[in-house]
C-alpha cells in the first residue's frame, strides 16, 4: 500500500487514522457520560447543555474551528493554561484530533442517548433493589444493554472525524505530516497542477475506510444486539 500511495499521501492517510482514533477514544467516555445524564437525569440547564453539545452540528465548521483557535490556540485562555504542562493544540496533530472530536461529538452523543433511552428504567430499578449501587447498575445492566448504540456512536464519530475538514483547517492549518489529514491533502492536491491522480487515490482510500467502518460497526452492533435480546 505504501508503494501505491506516494509518501505525502501515505502520511495524510496515517495521520487521519491516528487523529480519528484518538478523537474517538477520548470523546467516548465523555460522550457516554453526557448522553447518560441527558437521557436519565433532570437538572437545571439541561437544555443548555443539550444545545451546546449539538452546536458543532449546526454551526459552520469554520466558526467552530475559529472558536477552537481562540480558546485553545497559543494565545487563547485554555491554550495558555495548558502550555506549561506540555499540552499544545495549535498547529499540531493533537489540535486536529480535538477539532475532529468536537465536530463528531454531537453524532456520538445522539446515538448513545437514543440507546440509553431505549433501556427500560424498570430493569435498572430491579437491579437497585437487588443491591446494586448506581455505578454497578450502569456497569452491569445499562452498559451491556446499550453496547450496540455505543459502538454505533463510536464508529459514526470515527467516520465523521476521518472526513472533518472545515474546523480542522481553520484551527490547525494544513501542514503536511503534522496537520494535513486526508481531506486537507485532497484540498491541497487540487491546488497543484497534475495532482488529480493523488486526489483519486485519496478518494478511493476515503471510500474504503468509510465503507469498512460502516460494515464493521453493523456487524458488531448486530452481534451485541443478539447478545442483548438473548437469542
Amino acid at each position: 500500500m505504501t508503494d501505491w500511495l506516494g509518501p505525502d499521501e501515505w502520511r495524510a492517510v496515517a495521520l487521519s487514522l491516528k487523529v480519528s482514533f484518538w478523537a474517538m477514544l477520548f470523546s467516548l467516555p465523555v460522550g457516554l457520560w453526557i448522553a447518560y445524564i441527558l437521557a436519565r437525569r433532570e437538572f437545571p440547564g439541561k437544555q443548555l447543555l443539550n444545545g451546546l453539545v449539538h452546536l458543532p452540528l449546526i454551526l459552520p465548521p469554520v466558526v467552530t474551528g475559529y472558536l477552537l483557535l481562540a480558546t485553545f490556540g497559543t494565545q487563547g485562555p485554555v491554550g495558555r493554561l495548558l502550555e506549561p504542562f506540555g499540552i499544545v493544540f495549535a498547529f499540531r496533530w493533537t489540535g486536529a484530533a480535538l477539532a475532529a472530536a468536537v465536530m463528531a461529538f454531537p453524532l456520538m452523543v445522539r446515538a448513545m442517548r437514543l440507546s440509553i433511552e431505549a433501556v427500560d428504567p424498570k430493569l435498572e430499578e430491579a437491579a437497585a433493589t437487588l443491591g446494586a449501587s448506581r455505578l454497578w447498575v450502569f456497569a452491569t445492566i445499562t452498559l451491556p444493554l446499550i453496547l450496540p448504540g455505543v459502538i454505533a456512536g463510536a464508529v459514526l464519530a470515527f467516520a465523521k472525524a476521518m472526513g472533518e475538514f472545515g474546523a480542522t483547517i481553520t484551527f490547525v492549518s494544513n501542514i503536511p505530516g503534522q496537520t494535513q489529514t486526508v481531506p486537507s491533502a485532497i484540498y491541497a492536491f487540487l491546488q497543484v497542477p497534475g495532482g488529480e491522480t493523488s486526489v483519486w487515490r485519496l478518494v478511493i482510500v476515503s471510500i474504503v475506510v468509510a465503507m469498512s467502518a460502516l460494515l464493521l460497526s453493523e456487524a458488531l452492533a448486530r452481534r451485541a444486539a443478539q447478545q442483548v435480546r438473548g437469542t
Binding site: G131, W136, L145
Partner: protein
Amino acid sequence: MTLSVSLQHRLGAFDLDVAFKAPTGITVLFGRSGAGKTTIINAVAGLLTPQAGRIASDGTVMLDSTTGRNLPPHKRRVGYIFQEARLFPHLTVRQNLGYGRWFAPKKAPREDMARIVDLLGIGHLLNRRPAGLSGGEKQRVAIGRALLASPHILLADEPLAALDEQRKAEILPYFERLRDEVSIPILYVSHAAAEVARIATTVVALEGGRVARQGPAADVMSDPAITPLGVRSAGAMLDARVQAHHADGLSTLEAEGATLLLPRVHQPPGTAVRVWIEAQDVMLATEEPRGISALNVLKTTVTEIRRGAGPGVIVQLSFGGALLLARITRRSAEALALAPGTPVFAVLKAVSVARDAISDTPRAQDQQAK
C-alpha cells in the same frame, strides 16, 4: 421479624395515609387499583420517597422523615418481585439468579442456590436466556432472584396479574411454600380476593389511601364491612381438615364439627386446609331444607347484617368458632326476618367451591390450631 410501615404521601388528588405491621408470613395489601398498594410497596423498596413516614424492619430503620434517614434502594435489602418479571435480558437464568446474591453482604445468611432452584422447579432453565422463557417460568426465576439476594423482606407487586389462569395456578403454590418455609415478612399486593384467601396470613385492607382494617386473614376477610372490591367478591375463609376421599369424586372435610362435601381435593386425608367460600354461593333457610340437591347444610347463627347501597345485603354467620358470609337480597333478609341471633341453615352447593379455592393452611396457623 416484623416490618412496620407508616406513610403519608400526597400526589395531586391522591392522599395516602397508612400505618400497619407485617409479621413473618405473607401480609397482603388488599384493595382495588388506586387504593395506594403499589405506592406503599415502592416506598418500602425505596423506589419512591414519601413526604413523611417511617419504615423499619426490626432493628433496621430504612426511612425516617423526622431524622432525615432514607436508605437508597440498594442498601435496603428487600427482594422485590415485580408484576412483570423484569429479568435482565442479556444474562442467563443462572446469572439472573446470582445477580442479587453477588451484591449481598458476604456474611449475610445465604439461601442455598440448589434448594431455591429446586423449590421453584427451574433447574432445567439455568443456561437459557429470559427471552426464551414462558411468562410463568420468567416469574419463577424472578422469585428465585429476589430470594437469593438474602433479603430482610420480600415484596411482591401483583406477581400473578400478568399471567393467565393456568400460569397463576402454577405460581401460587410457590408462594404458599415461601410463606411456610421462608422466615422473613412478605408484603404481597393483590386485588384478587380468592388469591388473598389462599396465601395470606395477615391482610391489610386498603380503601382510598387509608387502612380500612388489618389483622389475621380470616378475621379481615369475613368482616362484612370490609369489601374493598365490592360485595361481588366478598367471601370467607374456613379452616378445615380433609377426612376422606370418595369414589364419586367428592371429598369430606371437617370444619368446626360440621362436615362438608366438596369436589375432590388434592390434599391427602388429615391435611389442614383453608377453603374460600364466596358469599354469593351461600343460600340461607330458616327451616332445615329437605329434598334439596345441595349437599352441604350448616347450622349457623346470624351475627351481623350489613346493608349496602344496592338491593343486596351481606349476612355474617357463625358456626363453632368460624365465620361465613352470605350475600342475599334485602327482600329475602326481610322476608326471613333475619336479625343478629337468628338461627339459620346455610346451604352450599358442593360444585360451587372451585378446586383451587382449597389450599394448604399456612403452617404457622396450623401449629397454633394444634
